[in-house]
Symmetry: C3
Subunit: 142 residues, 3 copies
């Protein structure tokens, strides 16, 4: 049985969705030792998100971000939390709609992702800076 | 300690939400051996979703699907990922809003669901076909 | 290795978002024993939600609730599940958009939350009453 936990610091990104599968997995060498297990990822922030979606056409990432900008504009008349700028409260909403934590299956020392699945960081602030997350691995050695 | 992992192929469904609790659990005989544990489920697709919601009135499933069709129409002017048809990009959005993976508590050899809770497959494509998922069981034997 | 599972009954809350981090953790003394681990929380209901978001300014909780009330009004013409009142179907939608289960990292006997992260109960009914959840702890003793 392996339990392994690391805090990972992601490179800063522009607002939008970004594929981070490789950036995460290359910082988790213990992944390769697990025959069967789970990887739990939790952002330590409330204005960014983690989600699985298509890893191929970058237009999917564009469209998902465009949809969220349209869905949650920064100037909704009932928003009170406006002191951190018009991008902040929409970022909090997106973080809860998409989620800031998820769990991924591990099989034969690798993430058990579908052919078209990739892990996205949703950066919902204009200048979010570097984001940190806690990665917890648990599983059975091969 | 039990670790058990299976790939499950779901029967094809029409666009909309479908109760799959029984279809999943009957393919996981090891569930019955666990006194306490967790079941992690992860779809291997990016245009369908997994969510918990009401297991009784089928109108809830209708209304949830109707809401999503209204929320994310296929002809949004800023959508660029249109080559796979007008049902595709809305399906990617729904997959991230609802999620493609979740974890369920196990108690006394069964899923610890509330009286009214059921597991839904959200099929967001018009012709999504058979969907595959990875089911990972982990827990303590009774 | 510790496996520990409890059913927790939350105090009744008004419709809206409520910080419940302390109410949960003080009912889980085994948390303090875990060096590394995970806490899985699953509501046993389909009209409330669990999400991580900002623990400081209460306006964030107000705005998130105001956004959802605006996004999913109770009188959408295509809603069929109306017999339980105009707050019920919007509550089911919110439960699936935000989620009714999540997993939190444990580090050094405490939840590994970011400085500004808190656990929210989303109460989406006007009179939801007391809500129950299953808390499952799993991890390695320090």
């Amino acid at each position: 049985m392996i339990w392994d936990q690391h805090e990972i610091r992601l490179a800063p990104r522009a607002r939008g969705f970004h594929l981070i599968t490789d950036e995460i997995t290359r910082q988790l060498p213990a992944l390769a030792e697990l025959d069967v297990g789970l990887l739990h990822l939790q952002l330590l922030h409330t204005s960014a998100s983690l989600t699985l979606n298509e890893n191929a056409d970058p237009d999917v990432r564009h469209d998902l971000d465009a949809f969220l900008r349209d869905l949650v504009p920064g100037d909704l008349p009932y928003f009170r939390h406006t002191i951190e700028g018009p991008d902040d409260m929409p970022a909090h909403v997106a973080a809860s709609l998409l989620g800031t934590q998820l769990t991924l299956a591990i099989r034969d020392g690798r993430l058990a992702l579908g052919t078209w699945q990739g892990l996205y960081l949703g950066e919902h602030r204009d200048h979010g800076g570097s984001r940190r997350l806690v990665a917890t691995l648990n599983g059975r050695q091969g």
